[in-house]
C-alpha cells in the first residue's frame, strides 16, 4: 500500500479548475517529483493534498486513511508536512520560535530534533534569536525545511525549494533533501528545476495543464525526448 495515494484529484480556485483529475502515489521512503511548467497545477496539487484548499473531487489517502475532507491542522497531526511555496516563514517570530512552531503538534522532548536541524543547517543555529523575517532567502528555505522536520513527518511536501536561490544554495538544498530521505522520510517534491529534481527522484510525474502526461522513474524521464525539450532546455 502506498504511503500517499491520490486518485482522480480535482481542485482549483473560484471558477478555475487547475487540477483536472490526476492520480499519483508515493511509496514509503521514496523521493517523488512533480515537474511541469508554470501554472501546470503543481502547487495546487500540493495544497489540495495538505488541505489548504478543499479538493473538488477525487480521493486522497494517507497511510490508509482518507484525508481529503480534513482540515490542514488535522492532516499535519497524521504526519504529513507541507513546506509551501514562498517558504511560509513567520517573519515576526524568531528562528527558534519558528522551529518550535514546526513541532507544534508534538508534546515530547525536542532536543534531538533541534540538534538534527542544527546539524543539517548550522547557519540556523547562529541566528536563533533573530526574527525570521531578517533571514536571507536561502536561510529562510533552510528554516522552512528544518521547521517541517521538527514535526518528524512521515511525508514531506516541498513546493519549489530552489526558487530564487543561488546555484550553490540550490545544490545544498538538494543534498539536504537526499539526507532527509536517508534518515527515513518520504518526499514529494514540486520543482521547476526539473534537471536536478529528476536527478535525485526515484520516480517522477509530468504535469501539463492540470493533467498528468507522463510518468516513470527519474532516469527514464530525464532520457525522454519530450521532457528534455520542454523542461531541460534542450532543443
Amino acid at each position: 500500500m502506498p504511503l500517499l495515494d491520490v486518485r482522480d484529484l480535482r481542485a482549483g480556485y473560484g471558477a478555475i479548475l487547475a487540477v483536472k483529475g490526476i492520480s499519483l502515489h508515493v511509496d514509503e521512503g521514496e523521493i517523488v517529483t512533480l515537474i511541469g511548467s508554470n501554472g501546470a497545477g503543481k502547487s495546487t496539487t500540493l495544497r489540495a493534498i495538505s488541505g489548504v484548499i478543499r479538493p473538488r473531487g477525487g480521493e486522497v489517502t494517507f497511510d490508509g486513511q482518507r484525508i481529503d475532507r480534513l482540515q490542514p491542522h488535522a492532516i499535519v497531526r497524521l504526519g504529513l508536512s507541507h513546506v509551501p511555496e514562498g517558504r511560509g516563514i513567520f517573519h515576526s517570530l524568531s528562528v527558534y520560535e519558528n522551529l518550535l512552531m514546526g513541532a507544534y503538534t508534538r508534546g515530547d522532548a525536542l532536543h534531538d530534533d533541534l540538534e538534527r536541524v542544527y546539524r543539517l543547517f548550522p547557519r540556523l543555529k547562529e541566528r536563533l534569536r533573530q526574527p525570521g523575517g531578517t533571514l536571507s532567502g536561502g536561510e529562510q528555505q533552510m528554516l522552512a525545511i528544518g521547521r517541517a522536520l521538527m514535526a518528524r513527518p512521515r511525508l514531506l511536501l516541498l513546493d519549489e525549494p530552489s526558487m530564487g536561490l543561488s546555484p550553490v544554495l540550490v545544490e545544498t538544498i538538494f543534498e539536504t533533501i537526499q539526507a532527509i530521505r536517508r534518515e527515513g522520510a518520504t518526499v514529494l517534491l514540486v520543482e521547476q528545476n526539473a534537471l536536478m529534481a529528476l536527478e535525485i527522484a526515484d520516480r517522477a510525474y509530468v504535469l501539463e495543464s492540470g493533467e498528468i502526461t507522463l510518468a516513470g522513474t527519474g532516469a527514464e524521464l530525464s532520457r525522454d525526448d519530450s521532457v528534455r525539450r520542454a523542461y531541460l532546455g534542450e532543443g
Binding site: 495538505s50 488541505g51 489548504v52 482540515q71 490542514p72 491542522h73 499535519v76 497531526r77 508536512s81 507541507h82 509551501p84 511560509g88 513567520f90 517573519h91 515576526s92 517570530l93 520560535e97 518550535l100 512552531m101 514546526g102 507544534y104 503538534t105 526574527p131 523575517g133 531578517t134 521547521r147 514535526a151
Partner: protein
C-alpha cells in the same frame, strides 16, 4: 513656547495618577481590540459590551456575597470572587459572540463582520438597559478609603489597587503571548493563518483563545471600573470601548505592547494633557472636553500616522 506652570506640584501628580488610572482601564480593554484585530483584521465593536457584562456580573457577585455589609479581610476574598465571576461572564459572552456572530462570516467581505459586531454591541447594550430599566447600579462601597503618599505623589488605595492589578494582568498576558505555545500559535495565526495551520495549529480554536484572553482582561477591567467609579449602567461599555479602540489605534492596532502604551497615553492626554493646554493663555477646556481631546487624537493619528505613534516595522510586531 515655555509656559510657567501655575499649579502646584501635588496637583500635577494627582492628575498624573488620575491619568494612569483611566489609562489602565483603557489599556486592559484595548488589548481585546488589538488581539482580535491582529488575528482577524476585524474590529470587535462588541468588546465594550463584553466589558460591561463583566462589570455587571462582578456587581451581582459582590451583592450576592453581602454587598455593603462586607467588612474586614473578607472584602479581599469577595473582590477576588467578583473578578473570577466577571472574567467567566465576559469570557462566556465573548465565546458565544465569536461562534454565533463572527465565525459564520469568516471569509465574507470585511464590512460584514464589522456590521455584525455593531449589531451585537447594540443588542447587548439594550438588553441590559432593558433588564435594569436603564437605571444605574451602584457597586458596593466596600473598598477601604484612604491614601498613601510618597513625596508629592498621593495615591488612594483604590487607585493603587486598580493600577497594580491592571499592570499585573497585562504582564501575565504578555508572558502568555511571548512565552507559551499558545502565545506562539496566536502570533503565528496573526501573521499568516494558512501557514499556521500547516504547522498543525487549529486556527479556529486559536481564534477562540484570542477572544477568551481579551474578554478575561475586559472582565477584570469591568470589576475595577465598578469598584473605582461605583456607578455602572447598560450603556457604560460604549465610551470606554471607543476610547480603548482609540488607544489600540494610537499604539498601532494589532500590537499588544502598543495597546498598553496607547491606553496610558490616552489616559494621560485626557487628564494631564488637558490641564497642560489649560496652562496656555486664554485656554480653558472644561472636563467635558476630554472626549474631544481623545477623538481629536484619534483622527490626527489616523490621518498622519495610521500605523500608530509607536509604529514599528511589522516584522517585529508582537
Amino acid at each position: 513656547m515655555p509656559v510657567a506652570l501655575t499649579l502646584s506640584v501635588s496637583f500635577w501628580s494627582d492628575q498624573f495618577v488620575n491619568g494612569l488610572t483611566t489609562g489602565s482601564l483603557y489599556a486592559l480593554i484595548a488589548l481585546g481590540y488589538t488581539m482580535v484585530y491582529g488575528v482577524l483584521k476585524m474590529i470587535n465593536f462588541a468588546h465594550g459590551e463584553v466589558f460591561m457584562l463583566g462589570s455587571f456580573a462582578g456587581y451581582g457577585a459582590l451583592v450576592a456575597m453581602g454587598g455593603n455589609e462586607l467588612s474586614g479581610p473578607v472584602i479581599a476574598l469577595a473582590i477576588l470572587g467578583a473578578v473570577i465571576v466577571a472574567m467567566s461572564a465576559s469570557v462566556s459572552a465573548s465565546v458565544v459572540i465569536e461562534r454565533l456572530a463572527y465565525r459564520p462570516l469568516r471569509g465574507a467581505p470585511r464590512l460584514a463582520p464589522l456590521i455584525s459586531a455593531i449589531g451585537v454591541s447594540i443588542f447587548l447594550q439594550y438588553l441590559v438597559l432593558e433588564q435594569t430599566s436603564a437605571r444605574a447600579k451602584f457597586y458596593p462601597d466596600i473598598f477601604p478609603r484612604g491614601s498613601i503618599g510618597a513625596g508629592p505623589f498621593e495615591i488612594t488605595y483604590i487607585q493603587l489597587f486598580l493600577i497594580a492589578s491592571s499592570v499585573a494582568m497585562m504582564a501575565l498576558l504578555y508572558a502568555v503571548i511571548q512565552r507559551t505555545r499558545l502565545g506562539r500559535a496566536i502570533r503565528a495565526v496573526a501573521e499568516n493563518p494558512t501557514n499556521a495551520s500547516l504547522m498543525g495549529v487549529d486556527v479556529n480554536r486559536t481564534i477562540v483563545f484570542v477572544f477568551i484572553l481579551g474578554a478575561a482582561m475586559a472582565g477584570v477591567a469591568g470589576v475595577l471600573y465598578g469598584l473605582f467609579f461605583q456607578t455602572i449602567r447598560g450603556s457604560m461599555g460604549f465610551i470606554p470601548g471607543i476610547k480603548a479602540f482609540t488607544a489600540a489605534v494610537l499604539g498601532g492596532i494589532g500590537s499588544i505592547p502598543g495597546a498598553m502604551a496607547g491606553g496610558y497615553v490616552l489616559g494621560l492626554a485626557e487628564t494631564v494633557g488637558r490641564e497642560l493646554l489649560n496652562e496656555l493663555p486664554g485656554v480653558n477646556l472644561g472636563n467635558q472636553w476630554r472626549d474631544v481631546i481623545a477623538f481629536t487624537l484619534l483622527v490626527t493619528i489616523l490621518i498622519f500616522r495610521p500605523t500608530g505613534i509607536f509604529a514599528q516595522r511589522s516584522t517585529t510586531r508582537a
